[in-house]
Symmetry: C2
Subunit: 378 residues, 2 copies
């Protein structure tokens, strides 16, 4: 007898919540595990808070799951793997997560597969970083190998003195990644859903707009020509193949001044740049993630409207619990799809929700999403 599968999700934040929503609709059982009370998962029944580095906790959680997946590359997949029941799949694999977690390893893996990247050096010492500067030229982008996000852990250096300062602030025991700083035209992203057998589907190329090193808006499709778009999708697909990704992976890209596509970095999970797909595409990134890790057929990635724009709702204060100021006003904006994650604590710049709007023009979609998002003061 064929029965409905059960999906375990290591993580209880907004990504786990949005995965769970799609799984529940499809009839799939859902379990969530988080080391602390992550608010978004609280909406669901089988959400557990426990020490997720404990092998017994992990084994119990995985037992009975058809597959276990992660909300983040930092979830304890390595600890789960040795205690995971034989009939429970674990995707993405710990190997994929290992390749992606460390930016030096990630770049080496992609470079070995001939993926186009900004020129980079893995620098173990300050001296090596200065030598890299001589080779790569100024300015440089210095990146911590692990744990950097939203501008934290990255630093632009325009001079040897700035490089020294960055080194002092950021370098870990194994140094830093030193990259050529790309004077890009746009930052782009592509979501790829890939099954265990390697078959994959690509989402439209989107334009990700940053403000203060954080994603402010995502515009789908990106305003680029068909050839560049095909190139970006091909690069993204090859990058996901290179890390043997299974599930939904997001590939962040640079469009250079001379029309080349370079890989910035890979996220081995549904990503903020793909939230627009919930209303904007026939199958959302979360549904295709669920399908891929359970080895089910992948759904269509077609846009359902000519344009879709997603705008993030970031925290504007420190505190608890979130106010709902302006939320009612946001619901007044025609066509605005409001998502509030349910985090119990607000922090400045923390992702608290997002708004997506569709439109016949990018301007129409954008003005609706911006109008609604700016009302919400959490």
């Amino acid at each position: 007898m064929t029965t409905f599968p059960t999906l375990g999700i290591l993580g209880g934040g907004q990504l786990g919540k949005m995965m769970a929503a799609e799984a529940v609709r499809l009839g799939i059982g859902v379990r969530l595990l988080s080391p602390k009370d992550a608010g978004p998962m609280q909406a669901y029944a089988h959400a557990t808070t426990a020490d997720w580095t404990d092998p017994d906790v992990l084994r119990d959680f995985a037992t009975g799951c058809t597959a276990v997946t992660v909300e983040s590359e930092w979830a304890p997949a390595d600890q789960l793997a040795p205690v995971c029941p034989q009939d429970t799949a674990l995707w993405p694999s710990p190997q994929t997560l290992g390749w992606i977690r460390h930016k030096g390893v990630q770049n080496d893996r992609l470079a070995a597969r001939n993926l186009p990247l900004p020129a980079y050096r893995r620098c173990a010492t300050r001296k090596a970083a200065h030598a890299a500067a001589d080779e790569l030229g100024w300015p440089l982008m210095l990146k911590q190998y692990e744990g950097s996000y939203d501008g934290y852990g990255n630093r632009l250096a325009k001079t040897p003195a700035e490089l020294d300062d960055a080194w002092d602030d950021l370098a870990a025991d194994d140094g830093l990644l030193v990259e050529q700083c790309i004077d890009f035209v746009r930052e782009l992203a592509v979501q790829i859903a890939r099954r265990p057998d390697g078959t994959s589907v690509a989402y439209p190329v989107v334009h990700t707009e940053q403000r203060n090193h954080r994603c402010h808006a995502v515009v789908a499709p990106a305003p680029i020509d068909a050839q560049l778009s095909e190139n970006a999708q091909a690069v993204a697909r090859n990058a996901v193949d290179a890390v043997e990704g299974v599930g939904l992976l997001a590939v962040e890209l640079f469009e250079t001044q001379d029309g080349a596509i370079l890989v910035n970095e890979i996220a081995p999970r549904p990503h903020n740049t793909g939230h627009y797909t919930i209303e904007g595409c026939t199958t959302s990134q979360f549904e295709n993630h669920v399908r891929a890790v359970l080895d089910l057929p992948l759904g269509s990635t077609d846009l359902v409207a000519p344009h879709a724009v997603m705008v993030n709702v970031l925290g504007q204060r420190e505190g608890t619990p979130p106010h709902a100021t302006g939320w009612r006003q946001a619901l007044q904006v025609p066509g605005a799809h409001v998502h509030i994650y349910g985090k119990p604590e607000v922090r400045t710049h923390r992702k608290m929700g997002h708004v997506t709007a569709l439109g016949n023009t990018a301007t129409e979609a954008r003005s609706r999403a911006e109008e609604a998002a700016k009302q919400i003061i959490l």
Copy 2:
């Protein structure tokens, strides 16, 4: 300080599940209460099984809710009303539910407000039913006042002998509703979302196709001209006004051979004929239900594609738990949105799920939805 509202839902079936999904996305707290283990609600955290006729259970449930709503006109709103905390709204009102639950009262209410209805008589005795037949002519539709659905409790009578048989089988202490049998062109339906202040929005008119007295498919928009469509929406809006409905109500209509619109019946809640709105409209019937009962601004009811078709997935056997036979195959159909409700027991003809597909033509949407739905054997 404005905080996010909490919605209580009396009922834990698929309608409660789909309401909860929208509320959770919007950041609204959700509680569900059901007298027995209704499977669909099990996905959510705050789902309680208890004797929902117990005033203490109801008071505890409602305390802290911004509003309580019902999944069905048979939920214990009458019992909740006297123990409901003052700052908790209860929508639809027990009065609205009372007007709708009893088909004789419903018809009288609508007729008093000049809504177009099939000619009918409330017949307390067999003799009165024969007298009604003399006035209305044959054939007749006999309906139980309360509890009839999907063909159960209704009977077509073409002769006095069939009327006698139907009376013997169906009549309750207060008799039966005897209606002129409408030789309709189509059965139509319109969803209306209405706020406590009486402002409302209407969804597109849909064509509901029955097989064996059960809804097989819903086609949006119905293949009717603009004037008939406007008329149907106006009748539906007036019918909902007549019963002072708050929340999402579905109005089932007949399109007669001479192009008139008659009200068949009202459902005071989201309805199977509106499931297509989840993917087919900018704001689903469930989201607008949640918005209306919480007195929030209503969302756009625009279709997001030229056509949408919903096909029901009915149980084909008696048993537990549901098999997932064909479910994987259904996911292979491009553009098919698969919904499985998660009911723990299958029964023949029971609604176990549905599939919606969008398309540039009705044929395209229909073939996708039918193709996926027919794969699933639960």
